[in-house]
Symmetry: D2
Subunit: 262 residues, 4 copies
């Protein structure tokens, strides 16, 4: 959402949700939104990281939180899209697609990002020379933890998202909501979805329900806050800089306002 | 639902759904309901075989209907409940639990049942002597097809339902909507649901939506009809007789009224 | 193997193995071989049911034998071949292919077959009218146990064998020795073997090793004995009769000689 | 193997294999061995990277080599051991365990390593302060390709190795040779091996067969050569330096002798 729209909403004390493209805001806009919320003294903005409402992601987090296999030490994500536009630039990949993975890493581990090192690849010679369509995003987290995410926007075969939490004595991995296993043509396999609509339809519905409930007075929105949006924007900026420079980039954040604690 | 409730509804031309225990009616009641609907000239009763609205079952049927792996020749079902009441009788198992499998066999293959042969087992010596808690239901279908269903009400480890259509050049099997794969304690596995609430929650919702839509004028209910309920009741009766006699029992049905054709 | 060859071997006290087509002998020949061994007072014949040496089948049996999920109450087998000769007769399917499943049912449950009821299907209209290429074999076992096996010689998509032991509080199912999982072409799947050579290569090697070891004095052959061969022959004959008559056929056996006890 | 043993063998023109701990040699020793072979003009040393003989790894490579899903662009490895000695140092983890992964990355992609960046974690507070038991190894490969390997020596739940080649329009992942799927105790899962003996037993046998065949005159050993050993030693040294410095370390190698081309 734009800073202006968010500001307008905040000034009017109207709850607002940015469910479709949560990372359309950059660091400056995200900061302005946080500052406006702090000035208002209320959290009104909901940021649309729908994986926080996905049953599989929640089940993985629940296993880690249960302590049954120890605390999480590493997040491993996979995010593949079937095909990207010719000439897609790495910054676009980070902002439009990888933002979800950056949020997952924070949310699922409960840690913050201290630095980013992204290895960026061009998968085919016939792509635009500036395109980097396969990113391996390394995030150093607080408390000596780590996150690594494969972001592949030209995966070719379809759309897939997975997340694994490597814990101290085991791992928890998102299950795959396969509907049908087909044996045929010398193969035993399952169809892969073409895009994100189908795999995350229920998560979107759950997110909207939660948001409507929060407006209707049922309590705070339990998804990502404006602060979470700022965290992702800061990490995304570090990722983009890492791709540009080929180096490791520290993530520096302002002090967390009391509004977003607890 | 009781015959009386159904009759009342039909007399009043009120649509009525029996979504919770679709097989509570026996052959006599199911016949009476069909006759009442035929007399009225309208289909008002919805029978709650929610698997017809389950995404996995529908995906399996869709693969078979597509012809990609040929036409279905055999239905194979598995239906396991964690634990049954002590002293449960085979007729109760058939009526309360296996009814869903009998409906699946018909719906997924598009065939009718011509005879039933049920092998009924008692899985433990400490069960009531009359209990048969594990049934292997064989149904001879029209056109030389077959259905076989394992119905196990004392499976112990949890609740699971699956269906496979063996087709002419492949098979389609319901996928498992696993939410999390856990590696821990020398095991790589997924938690199994304790009962049917969780696995079929969405199917129930879809069924109710469809039914409400049909009442609201959006067209006919696309789930099981009163005639389907009668078919299941007839097959269930044959299964119960087969368990009692140890033999194969033919299923004989009245002519299908025009109301239920097409 | 022929009765004459077996007799010759026995007369000469030479150990002999029938590893390739274990069921080539019928009841008469199998009986003669058993009688010859009993007369000789030694077990010299090894019958080639190589699944007894397959790591997956052994692991399933080991889980059941461990008691961790209770005792086995039902055996469920699947045996699919890609394609059969045009005009294949049901008796050929039973003798050449299903013999392995009949042996598995006995070996894995530790029970004997008391009767057989086979439902026999013709999967396509363009097959020979007498062909039955898809069998569902129901075997009533001792102690109120049961076995059911799908034998499909025109499965189309490839070769697959699986076995599941339904136990009192869980089940054990053969794992699938998949070598590679391929994501591609909108599918996530594994290649299916074309025939039995690849899946059972190691089992054959293990079986031959065991047999050679037994000849070399390392102790008795641990695979199927002549008596096991006779049991399979008797069950196969019952299956063939069941297909012909459409009824249930009892399996009657001679008293088990002391040579085969323990 | 020690440089001295290798030298002795080479001087004597005796083929020698280092199958158990392929990375016991450091860069200096590996260089000396290569130089000795070059002086001799023959390849006599076999290095024991047994995964090159593992059916699953070979199947993955075969899919990539087939071109069906495009060329490989990224290697992703997972290597987990149940438990490491208290106080294990990162260099030991790299040399004793991760060497296999470094070799897999080169062998499976056909690329060379140009730099390494290893993120090293200590998974529990009660471990020795200098221990780093969970490594995420990033290798920049030639032609803009990448490899990433998780090396976890305190995985707790057991031993697992997997490899995935992300290709241009799909991925190929090692299958899991599961022997038994157990449903029980509210879980559907497979046992995980305790160590590498069981999963790689057949690969070791195949490797030894290949090596014996090469000595017996059946052609060159098709596994890793002394040059491959040197490549791994160079990469391992870079990994160890990266852990120590927290930076990215280039891998520099001498020119490849003609003896190892082709």
């Amino acid at each position: 959402m734009s800073r202006h729209l968010a500001r307008l909403a905040l000034v009017s004390s109207i709850a607002i949700a940015s469910l479709a493209s949560p990372l359309a805001t950059g660091v400056a806009d995200a900061t302005a939104i946080v500052e406006a919320e702090v000035a208002l003294g209320r959290r009104l903005v909901a940021v649309g990281y729908m994986r926080r409402f996905d049953a599989a992601h929640r089940a993985v987090k629940a296993v880690a939180d249960s302590g049954d296999i120890g605390a999480p030490v590493m997040f491993k994500g996979v995010h593949r899209n079937a095909e990207a536009d010719y000439g897609i630039l790495p910054a676009t990949v980070v902002v439009n697609s990888a933002g979800h993975d950056l949020d997952s890493a924070r949310w699922m581990t409960g840690e913050e990002v201290t630095s980013a090192r992204v290895f960026a690849l061009r998968t085919r010679d016939d792509l635009h020379p500036a395109t980097r369509d396969l990113l391996l995003i390394n995030l150093v987290l607080t408390h000596g933890r780590h996150a690594v995410s494969e972001m592949d926007v030209n995966a070719g075969y379809g759309y897939e998202v997975s997340a694994e939490l490597v814990c101290q004595s085991g791992t928890a991995h998102t299950g795959q909501a396969d509907r049908v296993l087909v044996r045929g043509h010398a193969n035993r396999g399952v169809p892969v979805a073409a895009d994100w609509l189908d795999p995350f339809q229920e998560a979107y519905v759950a997110e909207v329900h939660d948001w409507i409930g929060s407006i209707a007075g049922g309590g705070p929105f339990t998804g990502a806050s404006a602060w979470d949006g700022l965290e992702t924007a800061l990490t995304a900026a570090a990722c983009i800089e890492s791709i540009a420079t080929g180096g490791e980039v520290r993530v520096v954040r302002p002090p967390k306002p009391a509004l977003y604690l607890g």
